[in-house]
Each structure stands twice: as structure tokens, then as C-alpha cells.
């Protein structure tokens, strides 16, 4: 509101100022407003990033700095002891460390690849063709964006039990194929591809499969990458402790969260290791996001819901 008041004054006093400064500043932008925006972003930016920075510092603190009083925010003598301790604890577990890595990579890779294929194939059909039931189905997808895992958890468990998939990789992998968010984003992005491309291919006698595989799929690479990032995050951030019990089948995030233990019985002796574990858990999705950021924003530009 500061910006609004200030701008009204200058525009009342004369248009010349606006004209002269247009070369440097965008029109309709007051200096007061800019300062206000920078101020807000800096204050809230600190609020958003502070806990993560704090945690990273905590992970590099030697034991005597973790328990110092009054507590320090920043580490003074950084050490990698906590991180190596984390891996020592993991390697002492009777399941070898590489097995956790294999499980994570296998579940994430197969789950994501299957989701990409199945969702892009279906999204292609709904986006590029008009056939009976296609609009209705997409309406259901939009509503299904709101079904969270808690609403469906109990029946899902019963269904997985019936299929005999409890305590197998498939209990995590197959349901991930059908995530509505991926289908939704893919379809919205495919809508931005000009129909004329598809029409031209049809006239040339290309089959639906050929149009999908050769024309549409190469054009939606940003969407594929975005959906991939979301799928990896979903698989990484939800340790599936409900459906996988066997230690040999558990993923790395689940194994680390077991070491961290219950947040309400904090193991004081492992305070540094806990911080290191949390840091590993949060760095992986953040790194993936950073590498894919520009493609994600390209895809999200088409995410609007039309009613």
C-alpha cells in the first residue's frame, strides 16, 4: 500500500518524470514499491531459509559445539564426523548399505519411468483427441488432485493385501504409476502443442502411436522432466513404512529415518548424526529441483484449470 500512495503523488505532479525514466524503469513502478517488495522478500526469505541453514550448520558441528550453551547458530570448527558417523551406523546394520541404495534407485526408477509412460500415453489421448468420455475422465482427474493419501490409505492397504503385494516393491511402485498430478500436468502441457501439427501428421497417414511417439513426446520434454521430479520427490519423501516391513526391501530415506528415530524420544548421543541424516534427506530433492528448475517453470506455466 505504501507503493500505491507514493505512485499517485508522482503521477499527479507530472507525466514528464514517467516518460524520462521509462528507459530505465518499467512503467507503473515506483521506487517506494520496489523497496517495499525487497524488504518483504528479504524478511520472509530469511524465515524460509533459516531452519534449513541452521540444520546444515548443525550437521557440521563437532560434539562440543552442539551442546554448548548458549547455543550458536553457525558452526565454528566444521567437521564431517557426523556424516561419517551416519554412514558407519548404516554400514553396521545387518542389511548392507548398498542394498538400501539399490532399493531406492530401483523403486524410484521403475516407479517414475512407468508413471511417465502410462501418464503421458493417457494424457496424449485425452489432450489431442475428442472421444466419448474424455472430458468426463479429465474432470475426475481434477477432483482427484484433492484425494490425499490419508483418505485412501485404509482401502489401499486392503487392496494391496488382496493383490498379495504387501511387503514387495510393487506395493510402492505400481500405485505411483497412477498419480493424478502427473497426468494433469502432462495433459495441460500437451494442450499447448498446436493441433495443426497433429492434424498434418494425420493427413500424412501417421498412426496414433506414431504421432504420440515421434511428434508429441519429443515436444513435451519439459513436462516429462517436471513430472519426473514430482514423482521422485513423492517416492523419496514418503517412506512407505506401512507397506514394506522387510529390512532388505527398505529404501534409503526409510533407513535414515529409522536411525533418526522417533522425534519424541530424541537420542541425545546422536544429535549430530540426526542433523546429518536430515541434511541428506533434504539435499537430494533440493538438488533435483535445482537442476530441473527452468523446465519445471515451463511446465507449470500451462497448469491452469479451466472451468
Amino acid at each position: 500500500m505504501i507503493g500505491a500512495a507514493k505512485k499517485d503523488k508522482t503521477s499527479a505532479s507530472g507525466r514528464r518524470i514517467v516518460k524520462v525514466s521509462r528507459a530505465v524503469r518499467k512503467p507503473n513502478r515506483s521506487l517506494g514499491g520496489d523497496i517495499f517488495i525487497w524488504g518483504i522478500l528479504i524478511i520472509f526469505g530469511i524465515f524460509f531459509i533459516f531452519p534449513l541453514v541452521f540444520n546444515i550448520n548443525q550437521a557440521f558441528k563437532p560434539l562440543n559445539e552442539i551442546f554448548i550453551f548458549p547455543p550458536n547458530l553457525f558452526v565454528i570448527n566444521p567437521t564431517t564426523d557426523n556424516i561419517s558417523d551416519l554412514f558407519i551406523i548404516m554400514s553396521r546394520s545387518w542389511v548392507t548399505f548398498t542394498r538400501y541404495i539399490f532399493n531406492t534407485v530401483f523403486i524410484t526408477f521403475v516407479g517414475t519411468a512407468g508413471h511417465l509412460f502410462v501418464a503421458s500415453l493417457g494424457a496424449f489421448a485425452v489432450s489431442k483427441y475428442d472421444f466419448p468420455g474424455s472430458k468426463f475422465f479429465f474432470g475426475i482427474i481434477i477432483t482427484a488432485l484433492m484425494f490425499n493419501q490419508y483418505v485412501t490409505a485404509i482401502p489401499n492397504f486392503l487392496i494391496l493385501t488382496q493383490l498379495g503385494w504387501i511387503d514387495t516393491y510393487w506395493a510402492v511402485i505400481i500405485p505411483a504409476f497412477g498419480m493424478p498430478l502427473g497426468f494433469f500436468l502432462m495433459k495441460q502441457f500437451m494442450d499447448t502443442i498446436p493441433v495443426s501439427l497433429v492434424e498434418a501428421a494425420k493427413i500424412d497417414g501417421a498412426s496414433e502411436w506414431l504421432i504420440y511417439w515421434r511428434i508429441v513426446l519429443p515436444l513435451v520434454k519439459p513436462a516429462l522432466l517436471t513430472v519426473m521430479v514430482f514423482a521422485v520427490q513423492a517416492l523419496w519423501n514418503n517412506p512407505q513404512s506401512l507397506v514394506i516391513h522387510t529390512e532388505q526391501l527398505k529404501t534409503l530415506p526409510l533407513a535414515i529415518s529409522q536411525i533418526i528415530g522417533s522425534p519424541h524420544a530424541p537420542q541425545v548421543a546422536r544429535a549430530g548424526v540426526n542433523a546429518a541424516g536430515l541434511m541428506v534427506l533434504m539435499m537430494v530433492p533440493i538438488i533435483i529441483f535445482v537442476t530441473a528448475q527452468s523446465n519445471i517453470l515451463k511446465t507449470m506455466a500451462s497448469s491452469g484449470i479451466k472451468e
Binding site: N28, G45, A119, M146, F147, V151, P285, Q293, G304
Partner: protein, 313 residues
Amino acid sequence: MEGTNFQRYLARKKAMSAYTWNEVKKHKMLYLFLFPFLLIFATFTLAPVGISLGLSFTYFNVLEPPRWIGFTNYLNLFLSDDIFIIALRNTIILATITGPVGFMAAFLFAWFINELPRFIRAFVTLVFYAPTIAGSAYLVWLLIFSGDSMGHLNAYLMRAGIINSPILWLTNPDYMMYVIIIVVLWMSLGAGFLAFIAGLSTIDEALYEAGLVDGVRNRWQELWFITLPNMQGMLLFGAVMAITSSFAVGEVTQNLAGFPSTDYEVHTIVNHLVDYGAMRFEMGYASAIATILFISMIYAKRIVSSFIGKIGR
């Protein structure tokens, strides 16, 4: 005339269904394309909602087959389960605060970031979005809000002389709800935030130039008359995402404030659902809770989309 009209109606109906059937046959390849996704989506997303609705009318403890008991679960929930009423109240408080505030904050931050010079936008976006994707990193708030005098916030406040004795942030009912709201807002800018950032950058520059000619005086007017009406689709998507996350608060309260929390002060519907579904194995009762959660989300979306339809008018 009546008869002929009716006959004409029948004929048209027949032609229509024949046409539809032809269309279906013509596009059978596309149904094949859609089939794998449809099958998995129906099995693990649609069917569970239906099953949950069905189970909510039964007594079901997993060991014995479900027994039909009509509306008893719902009656018990609303008439004799005091904790459910508390959970309902808490969920409504959390959803009506973190939902709209989180949604508006996500939009405002996205809009502010869009005003920044290009080179710094990607970095600032990451700063604001990192808590959303950082998963269980919110557990670090346990250290900050730790209740003894060694807790970081307590230590700083005591050294600054603002408080004399440590505050039990996570176990004192006076503060718990505020702490949870702060943490939930911190970690839930969500996919809507990305959609806003992306959407803002795609609005045609020519629209703003036209607005300048038509007498738009400042960026706030620009926002209301040009930006918002052009982003209704994104806003609705963001709203759907905000509703989903604000009604699903449960893991955070469980891990920060304990389970159950003091006096059930931050006990949410999701906590109640987990209590009956995963600990007491009263699946019928838990399904009734899930159904109520589901219905309230659908209604929240209805209300929100009617609001969003009015923007810029």
C-alpha cells in the same frame, strides 16, 4: 404433434447413440492408450474412495468380515466422540488459516519475485520453495522450539530479557496451535507457488502496455485489473493444492507436538483417522472419518472456485 415430437426425440436419441458408438469404435486405439493409466488410477485412487464410503457404514476390525451398522459410525462421531469434535474444530482452524494465508502468501511471493530482476529470480524461488520439497526437514523446528532453557528460541529470548523462564512451546496448549500454524505455513507454499511463478511470466506484455494507455496508474491496479483475471486457471490450481495440503495436516502435529498432543489441543482429523485406522483397527469408524474429511475438501473447493470466478469483476 406430441407423438411426432416424441418419435423425433427417439429417432434423434437413437442416432446420437449410434454416433457415439461409432465414435467409440473409431477411437478404440485411444481407449487402449488410456487403459493402463485408467486401470491403476481406478484401482488405487478411485476405488479406495468408494470402498471407504462403503466401509463407513460398517463395523470392521480387519479380522472379522465387515458388519453393516448403518449410520451408527457417523452418529457416534458427532454425538459421543468429544475428541472428534475437538479434531474437527482444530482442522477447521488450521485449514481456514493455513489454506487462505498460504495460498495468498504463495501468490504474493510469486508476484514479488516476478518483479525482481531476472538474474536473481531462480535463486529467490529456490529459497522460498526449498522447505516444501525438503520433506522431513521440518523436524529441525523441534530444536528451535524445544521447551527447556537450552532450546534455541528460549535461549535467545531469555538472553534478550524478553522472558524469564523457558516456554514449553510444544506442550503448553496456549502456544501449540501458533507453533503448528507457523511450521505448516513454512512448509506448504506447494506446487501452487510454482504455478504462479510460471503463470506470471507468461502473461502478454502487450496487455500491460494497453493497460498503461487505458489509465492503469500503479502496480497494484495492474495486479487487480490485468494480472489476476489472466491467471484464474493457475489460481484455481493453486487453490486445489492449498486445500489438499491444509486439510492433510497431521504428520506435522504428530511429530512436533506428540501423539496425542496435550489436551488434544492440535489433534487434527488426520490424527484421529490414524488413531482409529492404524492403532485401534476400527476400520469402519476410521473410514467414516476419512469420508467426512473428503466431503469437507470437496465443499472447500466449491467455495473457493466461486470466489476465484469473481476476481477482477
